[in-house]
Symmetry: C2
Subunit: 244 residues, 2 copies
DNA sequence: ACCTGAACACCGTTCAAGT
DNA sequence: ACCTGAACACCGTTCAAGT
């Protein structure tokens, strides 16, 4: 009950003063393992083997700790090289896959990234790369802003949607109730939905009961990338360059 | 301190037993006014003029109350008519504007919708409409699923990003620190970013310190819609139909 | 500088009891 | 059926005190 250090994290926790990096790493590990709701100052402190209030000295309050956790997860994303790299549409596809890989590695952090503005700090390299690639594709000035916002908003928005939180397992009522409502859909009121239920149920947004962490939406993501790239190409007059 | 009803909500609260609808409406009003963090069972109860535990009888626990709040907000979205309506690309634009109007009417609920899977219940009419329109545009089977996921994921993902939560006002440190970091960007490491800062600062994802609730991203949204529609057109071979 | 230990104001939720 | 009232187990955070 009294919680001095030492039994906290096995071999990896060295002696010596606790460091900020150690706190943030432990917090990300906790989120990855048990979800973002499991991240409480008290629980994290216990896991590290320290008193809760000690965390405040290193990581500030919970909000700034969470921001640091997001930043750490974000740093796991490897950007494709821009100079001497592939043509812009291929680069965007690589970047999309890199972003998706990072988020699937830390799916529990996705809802946090999706809802907060603050966590964007230190993603300047990503911004610069996307901007450079789009500039190279022919976008300038306000249209560069628009294209950039389209790419970031569409891509990350789609991925955050794929990785949305599932209801807590306690709520099996919801899952079974939703499945029943889906099965009982009126084919008069919703004919297209009813007719295509086999390819839609649990595979499409707003029609699924499992998150993309459990059920990755691989093919839909590829098609989304196709649409994004082709749409940008149309904006810049390179329709023929990207293929269907 | 003792909190019987009557002084709770002025004239609008009739006598008689509390109803579920009344609870959910009051909860949405509280979220709209003060943000989702302000929605606690105890505070809501006090506002209605009832004991906290009374809410559980009508609305279940907090998670299901929040789901009901999302559903209520969602019901504020007016779908454009499908049969006898405009061509598919114009319909998609109208739907996009309707979704945006709804979310800008309840911006504080956007982060919840962005992060949770559960809140999708009873959006079957929206799903059916989008599916019908895309089917009419020529998508079938698995490609229909892909196109549907592209539309929903891109559109709502973009809008949730626009309306992300700002840091609490207490955190003026973050805002000013972020602005400084943006101003001090190294034009060697990030030349495109540095050169285009005037059209990017506070107007682009990951480069802004204010949310779209305060600073709507109107023009970028229009361009995003252009890209989405043109990209879908390319998928189905109607490139010439939608215009640039 | 770094951390303990107590304390404060708040949560969501359960449950027995009232009417 | 509908709500009260007390109680429980948890929070985040502050602050004085130790070393």
């Amino acid at each position: 009950m009294t919680s001095p250090r030492g039994n906290g994290r096995g071999a990896s926790s060295q002696r010596g003063p606790l460091t900020r990096r150690e706190v943030v790493t432990a917090a990300l590990a906790l989120v990855d393992a048990d979800g973002v709701d499991a991240l409480t100052m008290r629980r994290l402190a216990e896991r590290i083997g320290v008193y809760p209030t000690a965390l405040y000295w290193h990581a500030g309050n919970k909000a700034s700790l969470l921001a640091a956790v997001c930043e750490l997860a974000h740093s796991d994303m490897e950007l494709p090289p821009v100079v001497g790299g592939p043509p812009w549409h291929e680069w965007l596809r690589s970047m999309g896959h890199a972003a998706r890989a990072m988020l699937h590695k830390h799916p529990n952090i996705a809802p946090v990234l999706a809802s907060q503005l603050q966590v964007t700090t230190s993603s300047f390299p990503l911004s610069e790369s996307v901007l450079a690639v789009l500039h190279g594709a022919g976008f300038e000035g306000e249209r560069l802003t628009g294209a950039y916002n389209t790419v970031i908003g569409f891509l990350f928005g789609w991925l955050f949607g794929e990785l949305a939180s599932e209801p807590p397992e306690a709520d099996e009522d919801w899952t079974s109730g939703f499945q029943r409502k889906l099965r009982d859909i009126d084919s008069d009121a919703a004919p297209t939905l009813a007719a295509n239920l086999p390819v839609l149920a649990n595979q499409a947004f707003m029609l699924r009961w499992e998150s993309g962490r459990r059920r990755p939406m691989d093919r839909s993501f590829e098609m989304a990338l196709d649409v994004l790239v082709a749409g940008l190409a149309a904006q810049v007059g390179h329709e023929q360059a990207v293929g269907g």
